[in-house]
Symmetry: C2
Subunit: 326 residues, 2 copies
């Protein structure tokens, strides 16, 4: 793999398009990150376009040029706040999948207080097979190790009960493979574990993961709103509300998706960070820092090693042969 | 169907087993409900047993005898706080599916503040086909109409985006059928809609629904705990905490699953209520009241009518012929 041979630092490629607050905020965020960047402006691929078609036809689109720079080794990682579909397609075409990986997945830190929990897939693959879920587990563990310094991440498989036989046939099959693998596998975890932080990584299909992520954001918002309304609903409690305002404001910042830097696309040959469309400059800066850290900590190389050690590559023999051609 | 001919009121059958706090609390709750009940004690089928086997072999089990009483028309509805699998199996064997219904589903009111939102399936069927999802929609709408007096319930299909083409192939197929049907169909809804109460009924498979339900409970708990910790983390805010305590306590009660009475099994010939294992006497009373109301408001008959009108019966011709044999 080309990535294993790069030692000198190239900049992080940043797509200027896609942020709700415009390209200036993205440029400002990139500057704030304190790490070398290369900025890519030009035409934008939006959510209205079919991603694969648009990435093929709009060769001067900012996200396409940024992805090409990463694929060519002129940049170490990619950050974009633009349309997720376009970023995914551009990454598949130009950054490319790791050999032996079936499907890249989108991973995201659960936006709740407490220790960081990584959820994947958060929406890249609505239909998955057991071997995809198994690879997601290794990919997610490598990310938590490389980027968050978790020594031996504990990985759970999202299901409807703790017993190994609970869940769909695909989940049951993935459970068996993970139990026989090289990870610190916690077995099945349930919806409440995702919120309680009982493991470091939670693996699921992209349909359930996407629903779960949006549901956590929505639930946190609804509960926080209900707390605010309850406090404001009486004179005495309103007075109390003034006294707790500072602390609750700090909590709100903790729940702010901008703080984490966004989602990351795992399973491609360089780190690709999916920044929130709603990102502030600080949000973009965090996204760039996460991309930089993933590159510096050799996340991709660690992923390759972990998949190989766990026997989870699509075809271990084929992958090592193919790698020698890179 | 026998259910359409019953006009006089029979009691609600209540399984005394299964509540964490014991049979006395169940009996007390049944009494508190203020509606006639028939209590069933005796051997308990627990989660450790294989439900279908246990229901067949333990003929004197409380949940089996209660279900038989309902199936025989000696009781109008069934309430149990015991093992969900056993209740489901006993209901399928003795209360029986509505003719034309593929699969009964477990429906539950979303445990968040705001207007009531019904989620189904919450775990009865981990694998579903499009026609199952379509029937869940009609069953859920009939419940909200009969039991919660919602005139023309708005129904959403849980997916990963609002566009009709988003989601798994099964979800896309169900979307098409629902869009062509007789319900007030809101199209696809996302995780955040489930928490925000933008529709009255949210339809999904039992895997996603079960994960979603436990995730909401877990998220609400985590956020509420973080609010409490934030308030207690400083002197001024702790003082404020004393002043907001009353209002937040009231909110906590609103989030208490006991308040809703539990989940309901839809698609069987009489109302079957799945009370929480953690139910207090008041929780049991609410469950009995919900069962009573579903019977009085002819929920099952309305479900049959709605499925027939929407052309969503398994086989409309076969169902009406079969019904004449009842």
């Amino acid at each position: 793999m080309t990535t294993t041979t790069s030692t000198s630092r190239s900049p992080v490629a940043v797509d200027l398009n896609g942020a709700d607050q415009g390209p200036d905020v993205v440029a400002e965020g990139a500057r704030l990150s304190g790490t070398p960047v290369e900025l890519f402006g030009g035409p934008e691929i939006t959510n209205d376009e079919e991603p694969a078609l648009a990435v093929r036809s709009m060769k001067d689109a900012s996200v396409v040029r940024a992805a090409k720079a990463v694929g060519a080794g002129d940049a170490d990682a990619l950050v974009s706040a633009g349309a997720t579909g376009a970023l995914l397609a551009a990454s598949l075409f130009h950054v490319k999948r790791i050999r032996g990986v079936h499907r890249p997945a989108i991973a995201v830190l659960v936006p709740l207080p407490g220790k960081p929990v990584l959820l994947l897939d958060a929406g890249a693959n609505v239909d998955v097979r057991p071997e995809h879920l198994v690879q997601f587990a290794y990919m997610g563990a490598a990310f938590m190790e490389a980027v968050h310094g978790v020594a031996r991440p504990r990985v759970g498989l999202l299901s409807v009960g703790e017993e190994p036989k609970k869940g769909t046939d695909d989940v049951v099959a993935a459970h068996q493979q993970l139990a026989a693998g090289a990870l610190d596998f916690a077995g099945n975890v349930e919806g409440r574990d995702l919120a309680a932080g009982t493991v470091d990584v939670v693996v699921t299909d992209g349909f359930t993961g996407n629903v779960a992520l949006k549901l956590m954001e929505g639930t946190a918002k609804t509960v926080a709103g209900a707390v605010r309304d309850a406090i404001r609903s009486g004179l005495v409690s309103s007075l109390g509300g003034l006294l707790v305002r500072g602390k609750l404001g700090a909590l709100r910042e903790q729940l702010d998706p901008n703080a984490t830097g966004g989602a990351i696309l795992l399973g491609v040959r360089r780190p690709v960070v999916v920044a929130h469309g709603s990102s502030s400059a600080e949000g973009i800066a965090n996204a760039v820092r996460m991309a930089r850290r993933a590159a510096d900590e050799r996340m991709v190389e660690r992923t390759v090693d972990a998949l190989a050690e766990g026997g989870a590559m699509r075809s271990a023999g084929a992958a090592s042969v193919a790698a020698s051609h890179d």
